[in-house]
């Protein structure tokens, strides 16, 4: 039973499915990757059937994430073009973080922070994929200096990406009424009017 038939559709089922394929592969990649990152995380390899399996599975998950993110990127890139309003939003992000979002500039489907995250993740995904291929010895044989560079880039960008996703997940938890958009696709009209007023007007005509 739908509580309110006037709820607004924010994501279609294919968009949500695509997002979760990226999300699941990312979580598994982060857990197995951290295991090789620092000995403190090595026990995480047990989640994958042991350390050798973790090493075998990790790059295949990477391929899955690369392709599924590419699909997500193509779906959403036209919605993530930075505008002057986004830049103003970003310059005043501190007010937002302090919990006072009433005076924030009006936002479309995505705010400046979401757009910045989108592009940052796109760059990270590209760097992770390329550097990861350099390290995938089962199928690729690059020169040792290239592998060394790949290893540093892979580790550094991996940390940045895990931090970005933590922020992404926390933002969804913090802003109430958001997570349902990625579970079943809709948000309330009040949510849209408060957080994405320009998008609200665009879809409701008000």
């Amino acid at each position: 039973m739908i509580r309110d038939p006037k709820d607004l559709q924010r994501y279609t089922a294919p968009e949500r499915a695509n997002h979760w394929v990226v999300g699941i592969s990312f979580i598994l990649l982060a857990l197995s990757g951290l295991a090789f990152f620092h000995p403190a995380f090595y026990p995480l390899t047990q989640l994958f059937g042991g350390p050798v399996w973790a090493r075998i599975i990790h790059p295949f998950l990477g391929v899955l994430m690369a392709f599924s993110f590419l699909a997500l990127f193509i779906r959403f890139k036209h919605l993530n073009k930075m505008t002057p309003a986004d830049r103003e939003w970003l310059s005043r992000a501190r007010e937002m973080v302090d919990g006072d979002d009433h005076g924030m500039p009006e936002q479309g489907k995505y705010n400046g922070g979401q757009k910045a995250l989108f592009w940052a993740l796109a760059v990270c995904m590209l760097l992770m994929t390329v550097s990861g291929l350099f390290m995938w010895r089962t199928y690729f044989a690059f020169d040792i200096p290239a592998v060394r560079l790949g290893a540093v880039v892979h580790a550094a960008v991996g940390v940045v990406m895990i931090a970005l996703i933590m922020v992404h997940v926390y933002a969804a938890i913090w802003v109430k009424g958001t997570i349902r958009a990625m579970w079943y696709g809709t948000v309330t009209r009040a949510w849209a009017r408060q957080h994405h007023r320009a998008w609200y007007r665009q879809v409701t005509g008000k």
Binding site: A163, Y170, W174, V175, K176, W191
Partner: protein
Amino acid sequence: MALQSLDIKQRSATTTPPPQARMTTEIAKLIDVSTCIGCKACQVACMEWNDVRDRVGSNHGVYDNPMDLTENSWTVMRYSEVEQNGKLEWLIRKDGCMHCSDPGCLKACPAPGAIIQYANGIVDFHQENCIGCGYCVTGCPFNVPRISKKDSKAYKCTLCSDRVAVNQAPACAKACPTGAIQFGSKEDMTDYAAKRIGDLKERGFDKAGLYDPQGVGGTHVMYVLHHADQPELYHGLPADPSISPLVSLWKGFAKPLATLALAGVALGSLFHYVTKGPNEVSKEIEDEIEREDKEEAK
């Protein structure tokens, strides 16, 4: 306690100190390049003792056979023809693991206990803990470890750790017919090398010297070279090897810091929620929308 000869000095992917009470003598293998005749008895002895057999390869028109180290060939003779002072010189170097005091392989390895450095200086791979990632290859300044295509484990010279453990010299040293491979305490080997270098200098090799590169903290396989000023002559033996700065960055202080940073983001988020509270949809806007709905319904 286990055999003193198996006391551990360093263990891969382990952040706590190993037992340190016992002081063990450091050992070394000394390879005197100037007395090596390139007979490959060491290669044969290595394969025989360690029960590894390489595939029969093909002749490439040079003496090098096999052409490179493999998971089954832990030592190979490298033959270099060079011109020095207008004369042809045939330099033959037995290549293999150098057993560094500061081993790049061990530093890079993510698997606890897959690479062990014994207190006597031997760096040994424990394949049962190896996960086959190849980070050791990335870390090694001498390009020595090889990953097996068959089992995806890393292999290299063990310095016959099993023989050394029971006070025997490595198989290659035992087999060498000219005494070009000597084995003993690192101190004795350094003294022996000094004598050989003295001899070589008398015979006109005034640049003769010991190869025990300090960039990796010294090695437990050392060379006596007639041209110690140009180690590259010997099939590209690096002049000043050290762990690549990229590997040190990758495996050094940056990682604990990055781990702390991630913990900071997670805790920062938690405390943001606890101190600022959630960002909820305001009652005001909900009421506004309800009012509009009622008006439309009229």
